[in-house]
């Protein structure tokens, strides 16, 4: 599903250069739940940006769902993000002036799904995260946990092959964070491929496969077969 091969991301700032990713190879199969763990500055965010097609590597190849995206232009990357990826962000990143269902519809809107079908798919996604009754509310009228559910619904709405979660529990209190994590696990059991980025080891412990990044290289890659 995700195949990173010898990925380098080098930022050069005049004389000095920063190797944010210093040769990373990673292979994620369909249906896996992977946590990418690292401290701040480890390169995990850069890694996430590249997996999320928000950025392109300086060198190396990246195949997502069988297609090579490492040399794509911005417009093509936009289509890949739209059709193959669902994002869940730490800050939820809902658009405040759109109501819940309009937010969930956004990726479908950019995909060109007709209005009636869009509404139906969005409602189904909201139903899955259990807040279909809040569809007409504005994001600011919801609690943090509910907002994160909306953003998960948004990621699910287009049924993308990969869900990418960037510190999804980072802005939540431990109880709601727990709920969100349980929900992600449930999505995994339902067969979704999930990549979760975190710096929190206690979260990482609950995830079947943990990839640790430090100084731009993968230092360990462990699987807990029992839970899979």
């Amino acid at each position: 599903m995700i195949r990173l091969t010898d990925i380098y991301k080098i930022y050069s700032d005049g004389d000095s250069e920063i190797r944010a990713l210093d040769g990373i190879s990673l292979h994620v199969e369909k249906g896996e739940f992977v946590a990418i763990v690292g401290s701040s500055g480890s390169g995990k965010s850069t890694c996430m940006n590249i997996i999320g097609c928000l950025d392109v590597p300086t060198s190396g190849t990246y195949q997502l769902d069988g297609i090579d995206v490492s040399t794509m232009h911005e417009k093509e990357l936009a289509h890949v993000r739209n059709q193959r990826l669902g994002f869940v962000f730490q800050q939820y990143n809902l658009i405040p002036k759109l109501n819940v269902i309009e937010n969930v519809e956004l990726p479908l809107l950019y995909r060109g799904v007709p209005s009636a079908e869009r509404r139906k798919m969005a409602l189904e996604a909201l139903d899955r995260v259990g807040i279909a009754d809040r569809a007409k509310k504005l994001p600011t009228q919801l609690s943090g946990g509910q907002q994160q559910r909306v953003s998960i619904a948004r990621a699910l709405a287009g049924q993308p092959p990969v869900i990418l979660a960037d510190e999804p529990t980072g802005a939540l209190d431990s109880k709601t964070g727990r709920e969100v994590l349980e929900f992600m696990k449930q999505l995994h059991r339902e067969g979704n491929t999930i990549v979760l980025i975190t710096h929190d080891n206690s979260i990482a412990e609950e995830i079947p496969r943990v990839v640790r990044i430090h100084d731009g290289i993968i230092t360990s890659d462990t699987r807990k077969e029992a839970e899979a």
């Binding site: 950025d55 417009k75 289509h79 658009i95 956004l106 950019y110």
Partner: protein, 390 residues
């Protein structure tokens, strides 16, 4: 994302900050309204002035003779002969001898220019009478003391009473009123209602002057040029040089006026266009602020799969909707304002349709033109940076 959705989105985001959207539109509204008011008023004015001149006789040619030390001149009889010899070209010719006069009835007097004319003068000036008769050939021939007056004099000297067969003294000479000209200008002292027409033969005696001005009407509108040429040849034959006479035809005056009004219109529209430009810069300014404010939103949209084109379109449509709505309101205000102003000035209102089309296209173009730069800026934002923007 289709156009209809873009429009709904644009309306939504304009509705989200109503005061700001309104202030942005205000620049466009004022600019468009100013252009329409100015162009419509100027074209109303032009139409009014031209129709007034046409009322005065569109076929009219005025001949002014400055003479040649007085030793050679043109007699009214010679001029009359010219008219009779060229009936296809010249309609009528009348002397037009201005005499400063004091007209007096009882103790009331009015100072004005009496005009010495012949029996064709009414015809040339296309004036009709509302009472009595015009001056006849016999009046001219016998140097009678009859006169035709305008309604201003009826109002001033006769208190609006019937002046026919009443006596009026002009510079101390008693005249009998035989006719009253139709009112054309509200009986005001400006214009053709302030008139006192007397036989030119009589006028020569009172004023002791030479006849230096003739009013000539061309046979039809199409023979104005021919009549001009004929008069010029005739007078050149008399005076050897065109320094001694001037021919002014009404068409030329209208043309000059048109040119003058056209220049004024251009200038005023230029000024109004500056306000449109300022309005456009206002749109650009707000759109730039809006792009900065919504950097994060742009990042979110991009992460969800919006292409640069989607983002560009969103902001362009928003700018166009802003200036389009402003343009429509401006057109409404402009038409209303121009018709009210025309009413206040007292001229018939003529709507200038091209000015509306131009004003609207300009406001739409402003939307595209001034919206493009901010929109492009938005579309080029890097999604990672945009997402991190606080």
């Amino acid at each position: 994302m289709n156009l209809q959705q873009s429009f709904r989105l644009a309306l939504k985001s304009l509705g989200a900050s109503k005061l700001r959207s309104f202030l942005t539109m205000l620049g466009i509204i004022i600019g468009v309204a100013a252009v329409i008011i100015i162009v419509s008023l100027m074209s109303s004015l032009t139409n009014y002035v031209i129709s007034t001149f046409e009322d005065m006789g569109a076929n009219l040619i005025t001949v002014s003779i400055s003479g040649r030390g007085g030793n050679r001149s043109v007699s009214p009889e010679e001029m009359q002969e010219l008219a009779l010899d060229n009936p296809d070209i010249i309609g009528y010719i009348s002397p037009s001898l201005s005499v400063p006069a004091t007209a007096k009835v009882g103790n009331t007097n009015v100072t004005l220019q009496a005009t010495g004319v012949n029996e064709y003068y009414d015809e040339i000036k296309q004036q009709t009478l509302q009472a009595g008769r015009s001056l006849f050939f016999t009046d001219i021939n016998e140097r009678s003391k009859n006169c035709v007056i305008g309604t201003y004099l009826v109002k001033e000297l006769f208190d609006g009473q019937n002046p026919l067969e009443q006596t009026l003294s002009v510079n101390g000479v008693a005249f009998t009123v035989v006719g009253v000209l139709e009112e054309t200008a509200n009986s005001s002292s400006f214009g053709s209602d302030n008139a006192l027409l007397i036989p030119y033969t009589t006028a020569k005696q009172i004023g002791r002057g030479n006849i230096s001005t003739y009013s000539v009407s061309a046979a039809t509108k199409d023979t104005i040029d021919a009549a001009n040429d004929l008069l010029e040849r005739f007078l050149l034959g008399k005076f050897d040089s065109d320094d001694y006479f001037t021919l002014i035809d009404q068409a030329a005056i209208i043309e000059e006026l048109n040119k003058l009004i056209g220049m004024m219109t251009t200038m005023l529209v230029g000024i109004a266009a500056v306000s449109l430009l300022v309005g456009g810069i206002g749109v650009m300014n707000i759109m730039l602020v809006s792009v900065t404010e919504r950097t994060r939103e742009i990042g979110i949209r991009k992460s969800l799969g919006a292409t640069p084109w989607d983002i560009l379109g969103q902001f362009l449509v928003e700018a166009c909707v802003t200036s389009g709505i402003g343009g429509i309101i401006g057109i409404g205000l402009g038409i209303g304002g121009a018709s009210i102003a025309a009413n206040l000035i007292g001229i018939p209102f003529t709507l200038s349709v091209p000015s509306i089309l131009v004003a609207f296209s300009v406001s739409a173009a402003i939307g595209i033109g001034f919206g493009y730069f901010p929109a492009r800026k938005a579309s080029r934002l890097n999604p990672i940076d945009a997402l991190r923007y606080e």
